[in-house]
């Protein structure tokens, strides 16, 4: 019974995540930017903009300029998250890629790094008056959710092991649209449950920053307004209406 609930929830969460994200991306893409507003100095070319976005996503360039502590904890968390995610690939592959095998041990260190960085971000949010002022319950809950995922994950590994082979066959089964048996291991159920929640809220929460940054006009526009006329569709209509009286 539990296996079925989790299986169904996984399908639902995946659907909401993919569909929700696609919706948002489509919405952002079709919403016009009426004016050229890159934060200057901006790259003069599209290639340059590519590099700017890459630096933002790969190194958090602006955040680094802004605040070294947030950068440090934020960066550790995101890199660790990436490693941990990659480590989890092995649960979805019958033949695990060699490089996924190589990063397995690093994925574990990353788990601890994640916990640490999230803890630091959480403390910061509580202790620093300015950050506390701008925080809503959801901001704390989001960190707690991620802490819960990291903590339960590490608990499975280090506190009480679960039948990892069975988990893997459950996941592989889901990929083939078969719901197998999921071990009823408390930490595992918590872990997966929280991941499901995270997937569901991703497209409707601030987690959207992951895709939003690519649609930020101050970052994704080149500095070429004197050479190229930029005109939003609705502004064009406005001009045409005027011409036709």
């Amino acid at each position: 019974m539990l296996s079925i609930i989790y299986g169904v929830l996984f399908y639902l969460a995946t659907f909401l995540l993919v569909f929700g994200l696609a919706m948002k991306i489509w919405l952002y893409a079709k919403t016009p930017a009426p004016l050229k507003i890159p934060t200057m100095p901006a790259p003069l070319t599209k290639t340059g903009v590519g590099f700017r976005l890459f630096r933002e996503v790969a190194f958090f360039e602006s955040l680094f300029k802004s605040n070294k502590w947030i950068w440090l904890f934020g960066y550790i968390f995101h890199v660790a998250l990436l490693l941990v995610l990659l480590r989890h690939f092995r649960y979805f592959q019958t033949d695990v890629w060699w490089w996924i095998k190589i990063i397995q041990p690093f994925g574990i260190y990353a788990g601890f790094a994640m916990l640490l960085a999230l803890g630091a971000l959480f403390l910061r949010r509580i202790i620093l008056q300015r950050i506390r002022y701008i925080s809503s319950p959801s901001d704390y809950l989001m960190l707690l959710l991620l802490l819960g995922i990291a903590g339960s994950g590490l608990a499975i590994k280090f506190v009480s092991n679960t039948d990892i082979i069975a988990v893997k066959s459950f996941m592989l089964g889901l990929l083939r649209f078969q719901i197998g048996d999921l071990p009823t291991h408390p930490a595992l159920l918590v872990h997966l449950g929280l991941v499901i929640i995270l997937m569901i809220i991703f497209p409707i929460s601030k987690l959207l920053h992951g895709v939003g940054v690519f649609f930020s006009p101050t970052r994704n526009q080149p500095d070429d307004s004197r050479n190229k006329r930029h005109l939003a569709a609705w502004a064009k209509e406005l001009e045409e209406d005027e011409k036709n009286g």
Partner: protein, 513 residues
């Protein structure tokens, strides 16, 4: 000597322009600008006063903006409340009011957007801090979105480039749409749309002013340096802030442009129809009003048959010109495509210096030890010279070409990190003086640092608002009101004009007098 005096004026107390203040809730809650007169609201196409169904209209307007402006929508959605921007606004640094932290300012509007336009806000408002729109909230918007100079310093430091200026402009547009316009901005826009400039200076008065200035120039230089008005067939149309026609130190900048044009032998003119570079349409986030003002420039260029457009020293005007003009009033296919359209007077002067066509006697500026205030709209909203960062290097090179003593302020307070003068974005009005003084304190501390360290006495700027603002508030910080200079004022002081070839016409004139 002079420098030594300044060095010890304030002792050597440690100064940190970016020191983070203690939070002072509600510190600026009572400061709001005067509401616009009914007439000025209706002139701009807005309701005369607060309409009865303000709530529906405001919410509908937010929905409309989220459809028409990606920045608005994306920025309201993706802020992670990381707090990186919280100490980046000069108004927060100067007042300690937490609602002047960029993210908190955005949140004033975001909380309402969330309530009506997002799943979480509709069903779990308490979770995400979503709020129903009330009259109190509307009033709070009026207060705090008029405590933002739209300087975009916060957008430099946000990991996603979230630009509070965009939110602020949108909020003012929402306020205008329900009849809550601000006097200073709306009155000025109405004047500029009717008469052609922010001052309401009619063509006759403008001509008389320019003629007076021509006389001054002739007295000073002994040459016929002209300030032509409405001359058809001139090559260059100069669009400059109307403050250049009457305010100090702006006028000295205007005289500087005239001397540069004179020395270059350029044929140029000012237009009485488009006698304003400033475009306050931007401050109220109104595409339509911004466009209407921009179209005046296009019409003037067409009517006068000019080949080029050059802008005088004005911060947000240059942002509109550089970044938006092509969009709003383009394409400018009738102008000479060999020159940037439009061009900045700094680019023009810089170019002549590079070519060796301008000569300076730098010692004429030896009484000044100069630093440069990067006007935020130039620094973060525009470019110069077609190179990345040209807006930083070109004005400095022009200054160094005509001054012997130039020093930069702390790196964290200049260039893309520049601190706003605190008078921009439509806040240059007397009732907001308290905010203007406090908001300028980070900039003033940075200036004090270079005064202490390098004996800097004067600060040059290329923005009409900056100049007015500084001349008002600098006396509060132990400077004189004339310690702020126009860049072209320094050019004007040092430029060496060639002796005219024939002197006879000049003699005739002096006989007439």
């Amino acid at each position: 000597m002079v420098e030594l005096d300044i060095k010890h004026k304030r002792g050597s107390e440690p100064l940190d322009p970016l020191a983070i203040p203690k939070i002072a809730c509600g510190a600026m809650a009572d400061l709001k600008p005067y509401p616009a007169h009914a007439q000025h609201n209706t002139d701009l196409g807005f309701p005369a006063e607060l309409i009865d169904n303000w709530k529906e209209v405001a919410i509908a307007k937010i929905g409309e903006l989220a459809k028409k402006n990606r920045a608005f929508k994306v920025y309201l959605d993706i802020c992670v409340k990381c707090g990186a921007c919280t100490d980046k606004c000069h108004y927060f640094l100067g007042t300690g009011d937490p609602k002047n932290m960029p993210v908190a300012r955005q949140d004033l509007l975001r909380s309402v957007y969330r309530r009506y336009f997002t799943f979480a806000g509709k069903y779990f408002p308490w979770l995400v801090g979503a709020k129903d729109l009330t009259k109190e909230i509307l009033d709070e918007w009026y207060t705090y979105f008029h405590q933002c100079s739209q300087c975009r310093r916060c957008s430099v430091f946000c990991p996603y480039g979230i630009d509070t200026a965009e939110i602020s402009m949108a909020a003012r547009e929402v306020l205008n749409s329900v009849g809550m316009g601000q006097k200073y901005c709306n009155e000025i826009i109405a004047k500029a749309e009717k008469i052609g400039n922010n001052l309401g200076l009619n063509p006759k008065a403008l001509r008389a002013t320019l003629e007076d200035l021509e006389e001054d120039l002739e007295d000073e230089t002994g040459q016929k340096v002209r300030l032509p008005l409405d001359e058809k067939g001139a090559d260059i149309l100069l669009i400059t802030p109307s403050a250049d026609f009457f305010a100090e130190p702006h006028i000295d900048g205007l005289l500087g442009y005239a001397k540069v044009f004179h020395q270059a032998g350029a044929s140029w003119t000012i237009s009485s129809y488009a006698s304003e570079a400033a475009n306050f349409g931007m401050f109220i986030g109104s595409y339509e009003n911004m466009r209407e003002l921009s179209l005046r420039i296009r019409k003037a260029a067409l009517d006068l048959g000019v080949k080029r457009i050059i802008f005088g020293e004005c911060g947000h005007a240059w942002r509109v010109a550089y970044s938006f003009l092509n969009t709003l009033a383009g394409p400018f296919d009738f102008l000479d495509q060999n020159y940037p359209i439009p061009q900045h007077i700094i680019e023009y002067t810089h170019d002549l210096i590079q070519k060796g066509e301008l000569k300076f006697d730098k010692s004429k500026n030896d009484e000044f030890r100069v630093t440069f205030h990067d006007s935020c709209n130039v620094a973060r909203g525009s470019g110069m010279g077609g190179i990345k960062g040209g807006q930083f290097t070109l004005p400095r090179e022009v200054l160094k070409a005509c001054c012997n003593h130039y020093f930069d302020m702390d790196r964290d307070t200049i260039k893309e990190s520049t601190l706003c003068c605190a008078g921009g974005g439509g806040l240059l009005t007397d009732e907001l003086m308290d905010l203007r003084i406090k908001g300028a304190s980070p900039r003033m501390k940075a200036l004090r640092q270079v005064s202490n360290e390098n004996g800097v006495t004067h600060m040059a700027a290329i923005c009409a608002i900056c100049k007015t603002q500084f001349s008002k508030i600098m006396p509060k910080y132990d400077y004189e009101m004339d310690d702020v200079l126009s860049v072209h004022q320094l050019v004007s002081n040092a430029i060496i004009l060639d002796e005219p070839e024939q002197n006879d016409t000049k003699n005739e004139d002096s006989v007439e007098k």
